[in-house]
């Protein structure tokens, strides 16, 4: 392939992997938070280059996977209304809600569901269809939240009366705290998601590293980035350090993106939110603050269920389901430990959150592991 290969040069990848094998002296367990990193590791086969003593646990950082079923149900209910155009990101359309139905199926049944790659597309759709009600099902972590904030800001500035937001953004640090607080936690260090840190900077991560004594390495998504992140994590563990290190300086800076953060803070305020497979995590979501809350789809359409904090989703250990997604999302089990993996549970018919999106850990194992 003619892929731009500056960050994939095989000889450098193998050199870094060799350094990792050389420098590791004891078993260590690192978690890559982000589903994009899980996907890249398996897609490039990097897992095969790692030393046996280094165990990687795949984190809950796939925004599509962790979106609460009740939120998806709500999006489906809105998408089924004749006056509504529901917009969301492509892979959100495949995720089943509580009834196993997806937005793709709602679309097939006549719902006007549109794929967007940016909230600016939503603005254009709302402007082009003044007689319709346009709802943006806004998901994603701190990576996509600033663009949603900008959309909210523009909608108010333009006085767009036909646009509303079903906000289901997640914040990464509360999920890390929850993982570390679990009594069975085995995670000894993190690769933090480079794109999240490009927006948010490193500030939020320092107290986590110090309080829990875990190194955190801001890491990118290319093979060289990932191996560099792992190497810096292992070096810290070997030395007994627990610092926040930036291994992605070409994109991420310590202070993050000030303009994006300021806009997010202006538009959103943290809220307790339910994560599929993990439960309600304190301060892990975002909700619109005044005056932007007039755009809240819940308010506009009348809230039927306060889903943002509702206890729902695939309950770990639910007797009827063999799915162990809660344990997978916390890094307590591997996808292949699940009795349903690849049999009753596949990307086409997922039982649990990590199988639903390409970036979920179970789906990545299913795609790439022979």
């Amino acid at each position: 392939m003619s892929r731009p290969s500056r960050f994939r040069r095989p000889e450098l990848v193998h050199q870094l992997a060799a350094a990792l094998r050389r420098e590791i002296t004891r078993p260590w367990t690192l978690m890559e938070i982000c589903g994009g990193q899980t996907h890249a590791i398996l897609r490039h086969g990097l897992d095969q280059l790692l030393p046996d003593q280094l165990e990687l646990i795949h984190g809950p950082g796939c925004p599509v996977c962790i979106t609460a079923e009740a939120a998806i149900d709500r999006a489906q209910e809105l998408a089924g209304r004749p006056e509504v155009i529901l917009c969301s990101y492509g892979d959100m359309l495949r995720v089943p809600g509580s009834s196993a139905r997806t937005l793709l199926e709602v679309r097939a049944a006549g719902g006007d569901v549109r794929i967007v790659t940016s909230p600016s597309d939503v603005l254009a759709i709302a402007q082009a269809h003044p007689a319709r009600t346009v709802v943006f099902f806004a998901v994603g972590f701190e990576t996509t939240a600033p663009a949603t904030a900008l959309l909210a800001h523009q909608a108010l500035a333009l006085g767009l009366g036909n646009l509303s937001l079903l906000v289901c953004h997640g914040r990464v640090p509360p999920a890390m705290e929850a993982i570390l607080a679990a009594p069975e936690c085995r995670v000894q260090g993190f690769l933090a998601a480079g794109h999240v840190c490009t927006v948010m900077g490193e500030e939020e991560y320092r107290p986590i590293a110090q309080r829990h004594g875990v190194p955190i390495v801001v890491t990118g998504f290319e093979p060289l980035d990932l191996l560099d992140g792992l190497l810096q994590g292992v070096r810290q563990l070997e030395r007994g350090e627990c610092r926040v290190i930036n291994a992605y300086p070409r994109a991420s800076q310590a202070a993050g993106n000030g303009a994006a953060r300021a806009l997010m803070e202006r538009v959103f305020t943290p809220v307790d939110q339910h994560w599929r497979g993990l439960g309600v995590l304190s301060g892990s979501g975002l909700q619109l603050r005044p005056p932007y809350d007039v755009l809240d789809a819940e308010r506009r359409f009348g809230a039927t269920i306060p889903w943002s904090a509702a206890g729902n989703g695939i309950a770990p250990g639910e007797p009827a389901s063999p799915c162990i997604s809660g344990r997978v999302l916390q890094g307590l089990a591997r996808p292949t430990d699940c009795p349903a993996f690849g049999g009753r549970c596949t990307p086409e018919r997922p039982l649990g959150a990590p199988m639903v999106s390409a970036e979920g850990a179970c789906a990545a194992y299913h795609r790439y592991r022979a």
Binding site: M1, T144, P223, A370
Partner: protein, 340 residues
């Protein structure tokens, strides 16, 4: 029943009306003024069925229905797609097309100039393949119940070789080649829909494949299996052939030709170029000792043709650019861009 027929619209109808499929005077005019001039017969006398000269030896027969949005896209349109697609299906068993059927399902309200453009494109494409359109049908569905134009074509082809081309002929050790770089059609269509907010100069790879296949046969190569890489792309084709053959394959990521524009678009959208649709590319399995010769033939038609791997083991594997094997995933049917 004539008294119930729609009144004749002014000459040079601007749009397709239900009456154009109703069997009355509008239908006649559509046939006489548009379809017969494009496809014949020369004397304009239509029969209920085409009569073809009997052929000695085996015939190949295939059909496909074409649904594409937008109807016109960079590098082709639904008309040329409906001809090349069926001709290519025949080519994949080493057959040369000798006759095509053409069924048009038109949506009421379709601009007539668009239909004329598509019919002209069908005519040109059929001429390019040297195959006549010998029979056809036209129906019109109510507005909102079609997507402008749906086309079904069926094709009959002559088989002039003694090979058994298909997955069952694949042998362990066979070389795997592709006839050109992959993913152009899929990316061009996504861009042409203007839903994903990116622009590209890319054109579909839509092309007839009869000629390269004929050239491979003329070179006396022992073709084991051919498959055109339409929906699902190379990924689907390799899985299908592997299943049919009961053998695994290993292809090298670095060897699979992908144009930089296709690669960049796929990377940005989180799509896999290996699973993207093509309309003028095929994969070829043949004995390894003939691979160089076959590649030289293919490169006469597409310089990007490449040898990408071999038949081995039981699994469908991709050797990544880092030299590490992993399972080659089968696409899921609909290409949806990822969130991040």
């Amino acid at each position: 029943m004539d008294s119930f027929a729609c009144p004749l619209p002014p000459a040079g109808d601007a749009t397709v009306l239900l009456g154009h499929g109703g069997g009355g005077s509008l239908s006649q005019r559509l046939i006489d003024q548009l379809l017969v001039p494009a496809f014949g017969p020369a004397d304009g006398v239509l029969l209920d069925a085409a009569v073809l000269p009997a052929e000695a030896g085996p015939l190949a027969f295939t059909t496909d229905s074409y649904v594409v949005r937008p109807l016109l896209f960079p590098g082709g349109d639904i008309g040329s797609l409906a001809v090349f697609g069926t001709v290519n299906d025949l080519a994949m068993v080493g057959a040369s097309a000798i006759a095509l059927s053409l069924s048009l399902i038109l949506e009421e309200g379709l601009p007539m100039h668009l239909l004329q453009q598509v019919v002209a494109s069908i005519r040109l494409a059929a001429q390019r393949c040297g195959v006549p359109v010998v029979t056809g049908d036209t129906k019109v569905v109510e507005r909102g119940k079609g997507d402008g134009i749906y086309i079904n074509t069926a094709g009959i082809g002559r088989v002039d070789h003694g090979l058994q081309i298909g997955p069952k002929a694949v042998r362990s050790g066979d070389a795997i080649l592709v006839s050109g770089d992959l993913g152009r059609h899929g990316v061009a269509i996504l861009a042409a829909r203007q839903e994903l907010g990116f622009r590209t100069e890319l054109r579909s790879d839509l092309a007839p494949l009869q000629e390269p296949v004929r050239a491979l046969l003329a070179a006396d190569l022992e073709l084991h299996c051919l498959r055109d890489l339409t929906r699902g792309g190379l990924a689907s084709a390799l899985h299908e052939i592997s299943r049919g053959a009961g053998l695994g394959v290993l292809v090298r990521e670095n060897a699979i030709p992908i144009a930089p524009e296709v690669d960049a678009a796929c990377e940005l959208l989180g799509l896999d170029p290996i699973a993207m649709a093509n309309e003028g590319r095929f994969v070829l399995f043949l004995p390894a000792h003939q691979a160089d010769q076959a590649l030289a033939v293919l490169q006469r038609f597409q310089s990007s043709a490449a040898r990408i791997g071999c038949v081995q083991g039981e699994a469908v594997l991709l050797e990544t650019s880092l030299g590490l094997p992993r399972r080659l995933e089968l696409g899921r049917g609909e290409s949806l861009p990822r969130i991040c």
